[in-house]
Amino acid sequence: MNKLISSVSPHISSPRTTQKIMLDVLIALLPAGIASVIIFGIRSMLVIGICVAVCIASEWVFEKICKKENTIYDLSAVVTGVLLAYNLPVSIPLWQAAFGSLFAIVVVKQLFGGIGQNFANPAITARIVMMTAFSGTMTTWTFPDASSSATPLVLLFKGELASLPSYTDMLLGIRGGCLGETCTIALLAGGIYLIARRVITWHTPVAFIGTVLVMSLIFDKAPIYQLMSGGLIIGAFFMATDYATTPSTKWGKVIFGIGCGLITILIRFWGTSPEGVSFSILLMNIFTPYISRLTRSKPLVGGDKR
């Protein structure tokens, strides 16, 4: 007689796994990746490749050294690599891209305990560190024809409204900016895919983007450009929805999104930097445990016993 397995119920589980969720995120990021190659040239692929490779390698090596279980197959390191690459200028020196990737995985993710344990978004934190460390190369925006252009936010910031790209170019992503953040239409397609696949819910992106829209309408600051500029779309759909670093209740997501929107606006309109999406998400990451506590669902205990 063979031995029967004994375990606690439930005895079936949904087909969804962490790996499949990460795969969905990668699929959702694909259109923007293709767009980046078309817009910024083949070097964009090189940057993405380096970031992904270094992220995977640093996760593998770190876990090997620490004798932790190998987690590279959950694909979360790949997602971090792609997201970081999307947040870099195409002309970034490869060693700097590699440094950022290493920093994201080792310092921001693994030192805090690995997947699900980090409190700050690895890609965003790495990008902010890189902006501080390599401020020159991180703000040089070049096109394949070697021409370079200021980002629309810089133009808005300086008040050079005449040099702004057309709405069509903004939608298609033909403008200065990080390689994966410019093509609004590709990012929206990916975001809608994630919502349709129930990987994310609409709460965060709608609250985030909605807040930016309302504020720029109130202060009359070129709302359409505000929405399609900088990293708002990629941030709202792909980074402000990261599971580990954002609240998991729907009201928590709404608060998180509104907070991100307000901080973004604060930095864009009155700060000394033209863009604020990354900072806004990082700052809200820090508030996440408190938002989660505040919005924790109340157990359905019912009324009094008879």
Partner: protein
């Protein structure tokens, strides 16, 4: 307010399969504990001849239930067996003689009023057949009948695979009808609601027809969202009222009774034959031919699988009940119990426990908990021994429906942790209570 739940695969492969009677097994093993409460006390000796329906274990204490022989034959031994929960109990092992002679004591009980009805239900040995096994006479024996605003007949059958309630509704509708008459007559039930999930169209039709022929009976079609048949969920979705924590349906004026339990009562009142056989769904990836089988209580479940053509691949996990809340049995010798409504055998592939990975904080478990608990917070408080926090998080509210464990992409043993947390909290609450009393 809407209660959360999950969409599980239905796998109601046997819904259209008319139950077949199992050939009489050579021996049956009838445990004295097939209900919540104190085990019954054996009333037969080794070597004694018994007949079908004969009392072989008498109820012990208030919350207990009598046990009857499901076969005619000779008592071979009184064995101590380990039940699937790990608890040990006495079981009467009977060698069948193939005659299936019916006991002289089997005759319709005389029922004239509420008291005699309740005592008949007590004698019948009927317990909650939805799976819980709570003695039915205790549940129906309410002190103040005016408190009963509605009786909810649980015909949701939300677990995957199981179709024994479906077959009850289709094959024994006349007994459901008679059962409803009994509820109206002796409990004075003014409102009777039959709750059925919308994936059982034929049952809905049959029950609607039945309800239309009576007054005060309605069919409530419920979405096929697990755990629709969970007591709290069902009462809420049929009456709009939420059973308080630690309370009973009666706290919100409801009594919940499973449709097969009700049928068993009506049959007993008509024939006097106690609960000695069950219709069981036999299914799962390791089973050759899925079937509904009528078998005597105490039949080793191996016989059920044999009757279904055996296994097409080696069974690696075998369950009493459905895959969401069912209990894994240690061996195929495990007997059919009163509340067994299905036995499921999984092959290697389906039995293999999924690999557990780190929690990614996706919130799926929180968002799908029907009672809005926070499993990650409970797990954390449990690990850190924070009993006050467990109390605040209402860990003891958990009904172990398994939605959290099902949806978890990291395949974490959430239900297991919750069970442990509940045990820890209950112990803490007990100690706290004892301390308080000491101070007094």
């Amino acid at each position: 307010m809407k209660l959360s739940g999950i969409r599980v695969p239905h796998r109601k492969n046997t819904a259209d399969i008319i139950p077949q009677r199992l050939p009489l097994p050579e021996t049956v093993v009838i445990p004295m504990s097939m209900h919540i409460g104190k085990p019954a006390v054996p009333t037969v000796k080794i070597g004694e001849r018994v007949t079908v329906g004969q009392l072989i274990g008498s109820a012990d204490g208030f919350i207990s239930a009598p046990v009857h022989s499901s076969v005619s034959g000779k008592v071979k031994k009184l064995d101590e067996i380990t039940m699937s929960g790990g608890m040990k109990t006495t079981a009467v092992v009977i060698e069948t003689d193939g005659m299936q002679k019916i006991c002289e004591s089997v005759k319709p009980p005389v029922v004239t009023d509420f008291e005699s009805f309740i005592s008949a239900v007590k004698e019948s040995g009927i317990v909650g057949l939805g799976g819980a096994g709570f003695p039915t006479f205790v549940k129906l024996g309410v002190k103040d009948l005016s408190a009963v605003e509605a009786v909810v007949i649980n015909a949701a059958e939300c677990e995957p695979y199981i179709t024994s309630d479906t077959r009850t509704m289709l094959d024994k509708a006349e007994y459901i009808s008679k059962g409803i008459d009994l509820l109206q007559k002796y409990l004075g039930a003014k409102r009777i609601i039959i709750g059925i999930e919308n994936n059982k169209k034929p049952c809905i039709d049959k029950m609607t027809e039945l309800a239309n022929s009576k007054s005060g009976v309605e069919v409530k079609v419920l979405p096929s969202v697990y755990p629709q048949g969970g007591e709290k969920v069902l009462v809420y979705n049929t009456t709009g009222r939420l059973i308080p924590k630690g309370g009973l349906p009666l706290d919100v004026g409801a009594i919940v009774i499973n449709c097969t339990t009700l049928t068993a009562i009506a049959e007993y009142i008509e024939t006097g034959m106690p609960l000695v056989e069950k219709c069981i769904t036999v299914d799962g990836s390791a089973v050759k031919e899925s079937k509904n089988v009528i078998a005597p209580i105490g039949t080793p479940i191996e016989k059920l699988f044999d009757f279904c053509g055996g296994f097409k691949s080696e069974p690696k996990k075998v369950l009493y009940g459905g895959p969401m809340m069912g209990i894994a049995v240690p061996s195929l010798d495990a007997p059919v119990l009163k509340m067994t409504n299905a036995v499921i055998a999984f092959d290697e592939k389906e039995a293999r426990p999924p690999k557990t990975t780190s929690c990614i904080n996706c919130g799926q478990c929180i968002n799908h908990c029907p009672l809005r608990l926070d499993p990650p917070a409970i797990a954390k408080a449990y690990k850190l021994d924070l009993c006050e926090e467990l109390k605040k998080l209402c860990a003891d509210l958990c009904m172990e429906c398994g939605c959290c464990g099902y949806v978890c992409p990291a395949k974490r043993p959430i239900v297991q942790t919750n069970k442990l947390a509940k045990a820890k909290l209950n112990k803490y609450l007990k100690e706290q209570k004892a301390e308080k009393e000491e101070k007094k």
